[in-house]
Symmetry: C2
Subunit: 136 residues, 2 copies
């Protein structure tokens, strides 16, 4: 059975070597087997698990949430619905962030519009917008 070194695993799972060592350090990945020279050796199981972790991270799950999800995968006695619930909670957080960011977008757009309207074109010392921002 061909064993992978850290760089190969990283490529297969779409991440990088330091991140893998970091995941091992924080206990998200089990400590890797070692080859004679002390280098980490991985197999297909590790590719699966790391791919899972990376996708969860891509989904925006926090490390702690990923830890829960990994536990759910490991322990199949527990309900898949637990994963769903976690995802549901996460969705609420994503949507909150989304709303916040939309508000921010509107603000910045109107900042730019005001700039265009009041300072249009010239390098003048009287910027109404910057003044506004300092008002109480």
């Amino acid at each position: 059975m061909p064993s992978l070194r850290i760089g190969a695993l990283a490529e297969r799972a779409g991440t990088n070597a330091p991140t893998i060592r970091y995941y091992e350090e924080i206990g998200l990945l089990r400590p890797a087997d070692r080859e004679v020279g002390g280098q980490r050796a991985y197999g297909e199981e590790d590719v699966k698990r790391l791919t899972f972790i990376r996708r969860c991270r891509d989904f925006g799950f926090s490390i702690e949430q990923v830890r829960s999800l990994v536990a759910l995968v490991e322990d199949r006695e527990r309900s898949c619905m637990e994963a769903r619930d976690l995802a549901q909670e996460h969705l609420a957080a994503v949507r909150a962030k989304l709303d916040e960011l939309k508000g921010l977008e509107r603000s910045v757009v109107s900042f730019i519009a005001s700039c265009d309207a009041s300072c249009a074109g010239g390098p003048g010392p009287d910027c109404a917008i910057l003044d506004d921002l300092t008002k109480p």
Copy 2:
């Protein structure tokens, strides 16, 4: 002239004391004058400046961007359009983040939908979704 202490300044500007000390430490605020007992003393100028900084931060500008904006405010010889340009760049970043987050929202929604469809209701050991996430 009544001078403010750090807590009062914090309240006036909508932030808090440790943050003000932090801003001073990183050079975003000038070192404060001190009263006899060594406590920081602030005036109206400081309220304006900190308010400006806080609003920029609320707008999602990074500390380094705020540093540039502060410099623009201090040096009125330079164009207000520079501030506009900075804001424009920032808007692009906000929109990129927004798109990313929208994609994420869609993914999580469909994750949940699949969960509902394939594992509906039961605490079973066969979760198609979790399986999917581990595929290469």
